[in-house]
């Protein structure tokens, strides 16, 4: 999870991956804690999310990290694996 320090939000990649793991379990898409890693497949592979489920994850990331994900950002390659999704979140937090 993003670690809040006062008003600042610090994130590291590992924390983002931990959040994705928790979000998948909250959406009951993954049954066990620690099931996911950087290379775990998301959209259409690995865990095998469909488009609607990926959108739910994106909404969760928007709420958790204060992001805005526009339609132009909804390119499938951003959500193929946990690693690519984490990179997507990192890039938006950094910009």
């Amino acid at each position: 999870m993003a670690v809040r320090q006062g008003e600042a939000v610090t994130t590291d990649r590992a924390a983002i991956v931990v959040w994705i793991d928790a979000a998948l379990r909250e959406l009951t898409l993954a049954a066990e804690e620690g099931q996911v890693g950087e290379h775990t497949g998301l959209l259409g592979m690995g865990i095998g999310l469909d488009s609607v489920e990926v959108l739910q994850l994106i909404v969760g990331a928007e709420e958790r990290f204060g992001l805005t994900v526009d339609d132009e950002d909804l390119e499938p390659e951003n959500f193929m694996t946990v690693g690519s999704f984490a990179s997507f979140i990192e890039a938006r937090l950094g910009s």
Partner: protein
């Protein structure tokens, strides 16, 4: 209209490009063009005279492509092995082929002034009325019936409903780029008369389409999604007679996410120019440990309904095209 041109497949083999519908022109589409020309005159006849030209054209089409007929019959055979009460495989295949040609005739008749005017009955309307309410959308999950694409849209339009339709960029009989821009574009124009909006799935845009579909349902809208083969990010292989049938999870997943009613829809041809569009009671999700279990269960129940329908009307379904032999 939400329409996107598919991204060309670069570095692909010729077979891969054909499978991705990315070839400029293809012999299949040349044959399709000749088929449509041969049907131009019969399309002007009263519909009760369509059956013989349809059977003749279907037989010619398969005579020209015996490999296709063998493949189709092989799939039907895999599904009906051990199932009693169905016609012979060849009879099913001939009936399906004639049905496909009859449908082409209907599209051609739509191009004529006055269009195609069959008798259309909507049954199960009460399920739809109960589902639609303030902030409550409804998702019509159209089974792979030969006549679904045009008849469901015409019927709902005639009944006063405003429909948004999720289609695939491959929708239509043509597979090449030229064919898609001509024949398939004509199909889309004909169908567009009966719907408010078309959300078109193409490689790379599935998340945007899912988002638009979800928003439409959350606004209380009516959405139609057709079930056609293994298209989608996630597919469930469901028991279907003696084989399996791939069911995409998009429709049940959308319904679960939005709370919209998930209503199976079947299209039945009762005779020349006489159709029924039957809306079934909503498929209600079970409480399961994981979301995927709930979605998979909905997919299996839909496949069971398709199997029932296929058993009762074996020549009116595309489902044979997608079945796979059990391993």
């Amino acid at each position: 209209m939400f329409v996107q041109t598919p991204t060309p497949v670069r570095g692909a083999t010729a077979r891969q490009r054909r499978q991705a519908y990315d070839v400029l022109l293809w012999p299949h589409d040349v044959a399709m063009g000749l088929l449509l020309l041969s049907l131009a005159l019969p399309a002007w006849l009263p519909e009760r005279f369509w059956h013989r030209p349809a059977m003749a054209v279907a037989a010619l089409a398969f005579a020209a492509r015996p490999g296709v007929r063998r493949e189709d019959m092989g799939r039907i055979e895999a599904a009906v092995t051990g199932v009693e009460g169905l016609p012979a495989v060849a009879e099913i295949q001939d009936g399906v082929s004639a049905g496909i040609v009859l449908r082409l005739l209907a599209y051609l008749r739509e191009l004529r002034p006055g269009g195609w005017k069959p008798q259309l009955e909507l049954t199960g309307r009460e399920h739809l009325e109960r589902a639609l309410g303030p902030g409550c959308g409804a998702l019509l999950w159209a089974a792979p019936c030969i006549w679904s694409a045009l008849v469901v849209k015409k019927t709902l339009h005639a009944a006063g409903y405003t429909l948004t339709y999720v289609g695939n960029f491959t929708h239509g009989p043509a597979r090449s780029r030229i064919g898609r821009r001509t024949v398939n574009a004509a199909y889309r124009r004909i169908e567009a008369s009966y719907i408010e909006r078309r959300l078109e799935l193409a490689p790379g845009n599935q998340l945007r389409v899912a988002k638009a579909a979800e928003a439409h349902l959350r606004r209380g809208g009516l959405l139609s999604v057709g079930q056609h083969g293994a298209l989608g990010s996630r597919i469930v292989e469901c028991p279907f007679l003696s084989a399996t049938l791939p069911i995409s999870t998009g429709a049940p997943s959308l319904a679960l996410a939005t709370g919209a009613a998930l209503l199976p829809v079947f299209t039945r041809r009762r005779g020349p120019g006489d159709f029924e569009v039957a809306i079934e009671p909503p498929l209600l999700p079970l409480k399961t440990a994981t979301r995927h279990e709930a979605v998979d269960d909905l997919a299996r129940r839909f496949a069971a309904l398709i199997a029932r329908e296929t058993f009762e009307r074996p020549t009116e379904t595309w489902a044979w095209r997608y079945v796979k032999a059990k391993r």
